[in-house]
Symmetry: C2
Subunit: 348 residues, 2 copies
């Protein structure tokens, strides 16, 4: 039986992301919050508890979510649907469910099919990681300053969206609202394409006949560029599998870019120099730009409803007030996108 | 007039590499060594002296080399030939000349054409760098543990080869003997190809219509993979220009590798998983392997000749004794390479 004023967050999957989320939540030192965790790996729950990532280890996903206000599914992406099916019958009324998977379109579809109507699904994707996986690699600071994609389902209530936004902020990240298709094509470009390029560069070099000799010359640049080749292969596979079409699209565009560089290298010196010079300048701008995509509007004075106060265990009033206008922001964004789409269609 | 027992090393070009070499030489605290530097940039020589990279700033390349036992040309690669032409008339008898350029075949040809017969040219290429260039980025520890390619010219004497090998060791690097063609094709794979891929990935993403939105999602992986896009554009250009054919060869091979990944992603799940799993394992091996390519044989007791002692200002007896067998090693390597070549021709 849960104590009055006690709120529970359940984390299913206690690897790098799930474990780090737990640690970051605990770091925030929120009163009245209990973090319950489950991992199918033998002994992982106990380890997570000892590592301070969770307060209590549950014996199965169902019992983990039974009293949760917020459920975070942080398993490998291909396990998410199964977890949804397993926990669906036990999810409390009004419970908010989120995930941390790397492709949002399939996950939104699974949630729509599998989860009951009395819960709110808000997809999530913290853009943080390491090439090493597992609870051992988890740390409370993993999300500090990182973008955290938030993808509300059609049926998700405003409070649910706000609570996941608040979750992102509590763990130190920067919430970015985005729709599933946009998310999947953007991360294909800035996350999944780099993963494949990094691995392809490593396999190309390491499968070469001269590798034993070349390896001795490989310095910092090669190491950095091939870092992602050390990613957990299951995760790499699942990323390619679940975001296949977008990834193939960007692989093709990258091949064309390589052909363009090939011509530049063969051809005009001046153009080659300019290309490198522009890249250097643009990257400088990229590194210096304020890391704010679609910034959340500044807080306005308002009163919080009782229901909103209920969520303050997660967010604190400060964050909740900042989030107050999310409905308006989403509406505004949809309007801008419609206009943009119409404009592009006209320009064709 | 130079004091007896005083030896001079001249460094022409005091950017990231030249400046760091000076600092690393000074860090070694060798008695009786004077480091003279020259840089065509206004005020750079004085700055280098104040930064402790050199003992004395020369007013031109000629006066820098006039009393040098060892001359290190560390200018941008396309400036090397001009420096050789300029210093050629002033180089002392028996002087050792080396460089730090990123492609060795053209440099060996320039040295052959331009330098007088009474000096010894031994090409060099420390495999260390940063995306930032210039003296400001220089540091004494830049070469610690890094491979340092050594490419003796046909006419270079054994002592000259040993002194450049010793230079590599004194600055903290690991000497790797290699011939120019081998060097240029290997570095095309592990250094110049990564540079082009990194820049191409950055330009592809940053030229995309969605970049303002995508940039907000770009996390650590994208930053690491595009780090080399911040390389000094002149250097990037010169690398492509001077090692063009090898780079184009590896760009083509990379394109084929991308096509292979494309098929894997479209096709059999099992094969895709295995490819990622092998890459992860092989990279683990790569990271753990002893960083010894063609290791130098262990020291054997011997006596040093007077001429060898002369070089001890640079190397110290310990290193000199270790280096004693280089002639033998080079001979052994050539033999193995001949055998390998013959074997491969038979297997065709």
């Amino acid at each position: 039986m849960q104590a009055k004023g006690q709120h529970t967050i359940a984390i299913i999957g206690l690897g790098l992301i799930g474990g780090s989320l737990g640690m970051a939540l605990k770091r925030a030192g929120l009163g009245g919050l209990e973090v319950v965790g489950y991992d199918k790996g033998w002994g992982v729950g106990g380890k997570a508890q000892r590592a301070g990532a969770i307060d209590r280890s549950a014996r199965d996903p169902r019992s983990a979510v039974r009293e949760a206000s917020l459920v975070i599914i942080a398993t490998p992406i291909l396990g998410i649907r199964t977890v949804m099916e397993e926990i669906a019958p036990e999810l409390p009324d009004g419970c908010v469910v989120t995930d941390t998977g790397s492709a949002k379109a399939p996950i939104m579809a699974w949630a729509d099919e599998v989860l009951p109507d009395h819960v709110h699904f808000v997809g999530g994707h913290p853009m943080a990681g390491k090439e090493h996986s597992g609870l051992e690699a988890a740390e409370a600071s993993l999300f500090d300053g990182a973008p955290y994609c938030i993808v509300p389902s059609v049926g998700a209530g405003e409070r649910a969206v706000k609570s996941v936004m608040a979750l992102a902020e509590v763990v130190g990240a920067r919430p970015v609202f985005i729709d599933p298709q946009e998310h999947d094509t953007y991360v294909a470009a800035v996350s999944h394409l780099p993963l494949v390029l990094s691995t392809a560069l490593f396999t190309l070099a390491s499968q070469s006949q001269a590798w034993p000799d070349m390896a001795g010359l490989a310095a910092g640049g090669f190491r950095d560029l091939t870092r992602l080749a050390s990613t957990d292969p299951e995760m790499s596979h699942d990323i390619c599998f679940t975001n296949r079409e977008n990834l193939l699209h960007w692989l093709d565009r990258f091949s064309s870019e390589i052909s363009r560089y090939r011509e530049l290298i063969q051809g005009d010196d001046e153009a080659l120099f300019k290309t490198f010079a522009n890249a250097q300048m643009d990257r400088e701008t990229f590194l210096q730009r304020p890391q704010e995509l679609r910034p959340v509007p500044a807080a306005e004075p308002d009163t919080l409803s009782a229901g909103e106060r209920m969520l303050s265990f997660l967010v604190g009033e400060h964050w909740l007030r900042r989030a107050k206008d999310m409905g308006k922001v989403l509406e505004e964004r949809r309007k801008l996108e419609r206009e943009d789409l119409e404009r592009r269609l006209r320009e064709r």
